[in-house]
């Protein structure tokens, strides 16, 4: 067990691509955590998707041993925080496990929306913060301007910011010394009853569930019977260790220390991030503050393109959930898309990550319906239901009012694109709260309905700002809105997968767009096809796919018969992917394409 004064626990806060993972790698290397051979680029981002997207999904940690210039060996625990808005709660728990943060800002890019959101979380967590300007070796670096921006926008003293290049290693030695000098050591009482926070947990095929812990008081050791204060579950600690980042068994973890335990926990869903762990027979009196169960806010249907893959999809979802308790799923049936699952996610990125992992790691071809949020539907009989699937919308006559979730969005944007961003926000029913300038960049704060954000907002934001706008949000509150269920009908039959809940003022234009898309996507057939958008019984937009006028092979002789038959067999095979609407059959691919155009 390490003397408290020789421990420093810190997080790195950075925008995507500002060099967080590269810096982490450099720190590990300089403290000898891994040999040259074991070093892979960005060691901590272990998933392919994380590495490809340059983001960290699961919080990960590494214990470093640093021999400082004062001749003392320090234990540095670097807790790598998840880098995206969807994982805001996980970020706050990771920060709660540290006493200080390193704020990494790209010296050529400057402060971004996400940096701001996370640095505020660190300030809230009473962190000591070391501003770091990264990539100072690049010709485009503007250290002074960015230093000024940090002071203006964040309000942090940046005069003693450390200038580094994580890539070349320049300045990293200075940073290590600054960590020792400027970040406070943890405090804790090793004689007090055990009080530790569950920072994160993940599933390991050999060890089962592994929990990352930060000990505040007391000692966590092998053989101890521990209790999770939120869930009330008790477990026997079988293994205690630290991550170097390889797992290394230790006898115990004392106050201020960060490490992992294995305790025969079956699934990650049995562990709640932020939960307080104590000793069963000598429990601590009070739990650590700030626990929040993580709740999905964005929902969508996921269907296998090939109906035969349904069981594979279920199995894959279960496998993913082993390691990510924050997403939920339940079976769902759609007339247009067949059997699938209704899934709930922490946010859009979370949705995309899960979707991508299913397709890539589990080799499944998926159809994803338009994302939806949770609506609170107040019924005339006084009941309130939570609605996260447009298909479950009660009949209009039973509805008294509907509330939808709003978010508070912070957008950083170069002022060239400000006008376009403001009109996007207005178009999406946004209410401006704040607009300030920092140099040539504007910071706008808007309240926006979440439902408008899950509908291609992020893509639009990126495209109209040519990728320069950065965006962060937090869930604000629920607010009553004039919302309606927009149904899409093909030959008078509703296509459940395409129905959506929209603001009344946008129903007509959204309906018209969807009808137009389907008209282009549905091939002409022997019979004409009516496509309608309707609210309740009222049709608000319509299109017609006219009947085929000519479709006949000019030549068919002896040798062509086999060829023609093969073509027909192919069509017959394709029939499995057709959905019958009255006299017409619509290829499932048309619905998939219509849904894809939304995303």
């Amino acid at each position: 067990m390490t003397d408290l004064s020789h421990i420093r626990n810190f997080a790195i806060i950075a925008h995507i691509d500002h060099g967080k993972s590269t810096l982490a790698d450099r720190l590990i290397q300089m403290c000898g955590g891994l040999t040259e051979r074991e070093m892979k680029e960005q060691v901590l981002d272990s998933m392919d998707i994380e590495r490809e997207r340059g983001i960290t999904i699961k919080a990960q940690t590494v214990r470093l041993l640093y021999d400082a210039k004062d001749g003392t060996r320090y234990t540095l625990n670097l807790i790598d925080t998840p880098g995206h808005v969807d994982f805001a709660y996980e970020v706050s728990r990771s920060l709660a496990a540290c006493e200080g943060s390193i704020l990494v800002v790209d010296a050529s890019q400057g402060v971004e929306a996400q940096t701001l959101a996370n640095v505020y979380k660190a300030i809230e967590a009473d962190h000591e913060i070391i501003p770091v300007l990264n990539k100072v070796d690049l010709p485009a670096a503007e250290s002074d301007r960015v230093r000024q921006q940090i002071e203006d926008v964040i309000g942090l003293d940046a005069s003693n910011a450390v200038e580094i290049s994580a890539k070349t290693g320049f300045g990293v030695d200075v940073l290590l010394e600054a960590i020792i000098e400027r970040l406070p050591p943890p405090i804790g009482d090793r004689e007090a009853p055990l009080k530790a926070m569950l920072v994160d947990s993940w599933y390991d095929t050999y060890l089962g569930v592994t929990c990352l812990m930060r000990v505040h008081d007391g000692v966590l050791k092998k053989g101890q019977k521990i209790k999770m204060m939120q869930t009330g579950a008790t477990h026997l600690v079988e293994r205690v260790g630290v991550l170097t980042p390889k797992g290394l068994a230790v006898d115990s973890l004392g106050p201020g220390e960060v490490g992992f335990i294995n305790a025969s926990i079956k699934t990650v869903a049995d562990t709640q991030v932020g939960d307080t762990i104590t000793e069963e027979k000598r429990p601590t009196a009070t739990a650590l503050p700030g626990f929040n169960p993580s709740v999905p806010v964005v929902f969508c249907g996921m269907f296998p393109v090939d109906a035969a893959d349904f069981e594979d999809l279920r199995e894959s979802l279960e496998r993913l959930r082993l390691n990510d308790a924050s997403f939920q799923f339940e079976a769902e049936t759609s007339a247009a898309l067949g059997f699938g699952f209704r899934c709930g996610f922490l946010g859009l990125l979370h949705l995309e990550i899960i979707q991508e992992r299913l397709e890539r790691e589990f080799d499944l071809e998926l159809i994803t319906t338009a994302p939806s949020v949770i609506y609170k539907v107040h019924l005339t009989n006084g009941e309130t239901i939570e609605l996260h699937n447009p298909a479950d919308m009660p009949d209009v006559v039973r509805i008294r009012s509907i509330e939808e979730p709003w978010i508070k969005a912070t957008i950083f944007v170069p002022d060239d694109f400000l006008g376009a961003i403001l009109s996007l926000c207005t178009e999406r029913r946004g209410e401006q709260i704040d607009l300030t300038y920092a140099g040539n960049r504007a910071m706008v704060v808007y309240r926006l309905p979440l439902n408008e954000v899950v509908f291609d907002f992020y893509d639009r934001l990126k495209s109209i700002s040519r990728g320069y706008a950065s965006f962060d949000y937090q869930i604000d509150d629920y607010q009553e809105s004039d919302l309606v269920k927009l149904s899409i009908l093909v030959n008078q039959e509703p296509v459940d997968a395409l129905s959506m809940i929209v603001h009344k003022g946008q129903a007509e234009s959204r309906g018209r767009v969807m009808c137009g898309k389907l008209k282009d996507l549905i091939p002409r057939q022997l019979f004409k096809i009516a496509i309608q958008a309707a609210i309740g019984g009222k049709v608000i937009a319509r299109e017609t796919v006219s009947a085929l006028r000519k479709d006949v092979t000019a030549k068919c002789y002896g040798g062509d018969i086999s060829r023609k038959k093969k073509l027909l067999e192919k069509q017959k095979e394709g029939k499995k992917k057709m959905r019958q609407f009255g006299q017409v059959e619509i290829p499932q691919s048309a619905f998939i394409a219509a849904l894809k155009m939304d995303a």
Partner: protein, 423 residues
């Protein structure tokens, strides 16, 4: 049974005549729209090819046993590039191996060049009774676009030469070409009709994969009429030809009454045909399987490999498989509905032992009939004019509702027949 005439008709006509198809795979030049099995070579060893075609014919004849022949068709490629002696040798052998019907139709496809026109006498002397000329268009600009080796004047001259030597002459035209107006097509057709022939094949230009046209079309070098314009041209064609006394008897084939090509009718009424030469297909009930199932045959399509194999083994078959009943139903539907008269009940019964209504699910058949695409009556099942114009969609739909389980296999039919006869 719904139709009392059924029992008297269900025995398979053991002596149903067959068509004989001979493929000549060589052309002087490859047309950019053509995806047939045609090859351009420096020189052809005619005696060697003649011997091989005769050899394969003999092998096939031995396999299928004695049959009557209703038509012979020399197709290609460009069969008018054959030596008349080769045609003569094949026909002489065929007459020795099979019984030829009286008035057996013997067709040769010919390019309407002056060189080939000079060979027509030789082909007539070899036994050819019908010539089908690949005229394709009546303007030189279009002929150049189509990559043809002849001029319009040359083609018209060839038609006249042929008309004086053969009782049956037909030619092909390709329409729905880039920028072709209905007016221009009407004028072209009138000129074609002025030649006074009894048969014309009128094909809409189709961009086939793997052809030079496909690549050029994909690159946007030219466009062809879209569905609407193509439909208008198709409709105009039907009307012009009907009022000229040569109505369509099949999607793309027009003839005066009684002048339909017998060989084509064999294909479209799903009768037996024997195919020889590279890449030739056949549908044949042989002496061992007669009444049970047709055999689908196909020979190797590469000329040199075909030649080697025939010389080594007597044939170059690469496919030689019985056609399952459900596939036969698909094939018969596919071709039969191309005919203006569809297939008569007698034909459905002969092929499948039952009436056409039971071969397709009622919920498939009914909407197609109600929609005005199919007709079924005491004569048979056929596509309407509207149905023929959209036949690919109609057949695709119909075949999805095919009920092959309703087919009564031929031996069972015979039993039903004999039981009925005893009672």
């Amino acid at each position: 049974m719904a139709h009392p005439a059924a029992n008297s008709q269900i025995s398979v006509d053991r002596d149903e005549p067959i068509g004989l198809y001979v493929h000549w795979p060589f052309c002087k030049a490859k047309c950019p729209y053509c995806d047939f099995n045609s090859h351009v070579v420096e020189a052809v060893d005619h005696p060697r090819w003649c011997a091989a075609l005769v050899r394969e014919l003999q092998t096939m004849a031995a396999r299928i046993g004695p049959r009557r022949v209703a038509s012979v068709f020399f197709g290609g490629g460009t069969p008018s590039l054959m030596e008349p002696d080769t045609v003569d040798a094949i026909l002489s052998d065929a007459r020795r191996l099979f019984r030829f019907n009286n008035g057996c139709e013997i067709t040769l496809e010919a390019n309407p060049t002056s060189v080939e026109a000079k060979k027509l006498d030789g082909f007539r002397d070899a036994g050819i009774t019908r010539v089908s000329l690949g005229v394709q268009a009546l303007s030189d600009d279009v002929l150049r676009f189509l990559g043809r080796e002849h001029t319009a004047a040359e083609a018209l001259a060839a038609v006249r030469v042929a008309r004086n030597r053969f009782e049956n002459v037909s030619f092909d035209l390709i329409y729905a070409r880039p920028d072709q107006s209905i007016t221009a097509w009407r004028e072209e057709l009138v000129r074609a009709l002025d030649l006074g022939l009894d048969h014309l094949s009128l094909y809409q230009l189709t961009i086939e994969p793997t052809t030079p046209f496909h690549a050029r079309h994909a690159r946007g070098e030219f466009t062809i009429p879209d569905e609407e314009a193509g439909a208008a041209l198709f409709e105009a064609t039907q009307e012009i030809m009907a009022s000229a006394g040569l109505p369509a008897y099949e999607i793309s084939n027009h003839a005066r009454p009684g002048a339909a090509c017998q060989h084509n009718l064999i294909y479209w009424s799903y009768q037996d045909y024997l195919g020889i030469g590279p890449g030739a297909h056949g549908r044949i009930t042989n002496q061992h399987t007669r009444g049970l199932a047709k055999i689908a045959t196909r020979t190797h399509r590469a000329p040199s490999i075909w030649l080697d194999r025939v010389e080594a083994h007597g044939h170059a078959l690469v496919d030689d498989l019985p056609i399952p009943a459900e596939d036969a139903l698909i094939e018969a539907t596919l071709v039969g509905l191309r005919l203006i008269d569809g297939l008569p009940r007698t034909r459905w019964r002969a092929l499948f032992g039952v009436e056409p209504e039971v071969l397709f699910a009622p919920d498939t058949l009914a909407p197609l009939i109600e929609g005005g695409f199919l007709e079924v009556d005491s004569v048979g099942l056929r596509a309407t004019a509207a149905g023929r114009q959209r036949l690919d969609a109609v057949t695709a739909r119909l075949i999805q509702g095919a009920c092959p389980q309703a087919i009564v296999p031929a031996p069972d039919r015979a039993m039903v027949n004999s039981t009925a006869a005893r009672s």
